[in-house]
Amino acid sequence: MAEVNDKQNIGVSDGALIPDQADKSVFSAWRISFFGAIILLVALPLFSPDPYWNIIMFVPDGILRTFQVTVLSIVFALIIGLFTGLGRISRITVINRIATIYVEVIRGIPLLVQLFYIYFALGQFVQVPRMVAAVIAMSVCYGAYMGEIFRAGIQSIPKGQMEAALALGLTRTQALRKVIIPQTFRIILPPVGNEFIALLKDSSLVSIVAVADLLRRGREYASQTFEYFQAYTVVALIYLVLTLFFSKLVAVMEERMSKHHRS
């Protein structure tokens, strides 16, 4: 039986921008975009404090809210994803079917529609605070994606690992908990990082249910001053700096891991 090689490519991604680590040149695409955005964010307020300085002073609590939504949602999505992934590989038909239906249904409905559904449609029966609705919608949606990542991660662990654990007298559940899942976490770290970035971007959708995130704050500023171009330029640049920063982090993490863990 051939051992599966160490660098597992579980290939679940929605295409967040990941810098190509092979591109080491000083003027890599990542560097130009990242530092270009930072230079613009510094230069614009310097040369044109009104309105850029005002905008930059206006949006930071939106950045904070964006982070809140993103971090809370990713945490819940991870929990939902773990159980969904386990459900997807379960031998118990009912559990397996429920997990699969959840993934299929959620992946088939646009996130924006899900958000409307939880906030407005269900809001007819139960009034949920908009921040809660936002986090629920994001975590339920990304929980399905995470479920697929966990499933792929668990299935990428060589079959011999489960066999060795069973042969030692562990039950399937013990083997999953002590042998398979700890290894899965290591493997899925990069794709989870990608999901984090995708979620950070998608979190801008919550501005539609009036959560005061980065985009919403930009819009508030613009509608007061009619400086749409300037406000949305700053908002876009801030999103760009954030996602580029995190995608670099994920890339570095990925590279470290493939270096350190060859087994």
Binding site: E3, A167, L168, Q174, H261, R262, S263
Partner: protein, 250 residues
């Protein structure tokens, strides 16, 4: 390596075992008895059912029909306490299958702590003793990725021994190793055989067979074709199929 003792029940008894994978018949009525303390070497071409037979003994494969006992416990019976049986049967795999996220000691400690409820201190002391026994006393805190193939396989043997098994199964334990590492693993296996461990070994290591095996079993196409002492089977095989196979591997 005490011989057979007719009055005792065998340590392992396989009775008319068959196994079908879809269209393929991996085992076609295999019967074999292994006495306590006996070392059996199983040889045969690939696809002859050697591994399937071995893996049926701790029920990593379920038989299509037939029965297997470890002492008085029936393994092939679905009501049997599978977990207890697996505690009594240690297994060593071709690809080592060490847990890469745990150190050598951690690999050895996992089952005693999880299955037998051993304390960390006990398990650690045991792991260090076992690592010393396989000549790796200084590698307790190394991760599998930092060990050579031969070292990994010796840790895997120590890991199986930590459960104090009554029988050890070896499924081509040296096939994935570079030539210079085979001896260190065989030496550990030789020591085990001398200490009276009951062993079933799927391997083509003739040197090991002559030094340690009580019997050699030749399998082909899901059947046991021939059984005998190593000298008998290797030097004067009585079946044509055995002869042909030996010509290929010598």
């Amino acid at each position: 390596m005490n011989g057979t003792n007719g009055s005792q029940i065998p340590r392992v008894r396989i009775e008319d075992a068959t196994k079908t994978f879809g269209e393929v018949q991996a085992l076609r009525g295999v019967s074999l008895e292994v006495q306590a303390g006996e070392v059996i070497l199983v040889i045969g071409p690939s696809g002859s059912g050697k591994s399937t037979m071995l893996r049926s003994v701790n029920r990593l494969e379920r038989l299509t029909s037939g029965r297997i006992w470890i002492d008085a416990d029936e393994v092939s019976n679905s009501a049997s306490d599978l977990r207890r049986i697996r505690e009594e049967v240690g297994m060593v795999f071709q690809s080592f299958n060490l847990f890469p996220h745990l150190t050598a000691a951690g690999n050895i400690m996992l089952a005693p702590m999880t299955v037998k409820g051993a304390s960390r201190t006990e398990a650690r002391a045991d792991a260090e003793r076992l690592l010393a026994r396989v000549g790796l006393a200084d590698k307790a805190d190394a991760y599998p990725g930092q060990l050579s193939g031969g070292q990994q396989q010796r840790v895997a043997i120590a890991r199986a021994l930590a459960m104090n098994p009554k029988v050890m199964l070896f499924d081509e334990p040296t096939s994935a190793l570079d030539p210079e590492m085979i001896k260190e693993v065989l030496d550990v296996m030789l020591d085990l055989a001398r200490e009276g461990m009951t062993m079933m070994v799927v391997s083509h290591e003739m040197g090991f067979a002559r030094a340690a095996a009580d019997r050699v079993v030749f399998m082909d196409e899901g059947e046991i074709v021939e059984t005998g002492s190593p000298d008998q089977v290797f030097d004067t095989p009585s079946h044509d199929r055995t002869k042909r196979f030996l010509e290929h591997i010598l």
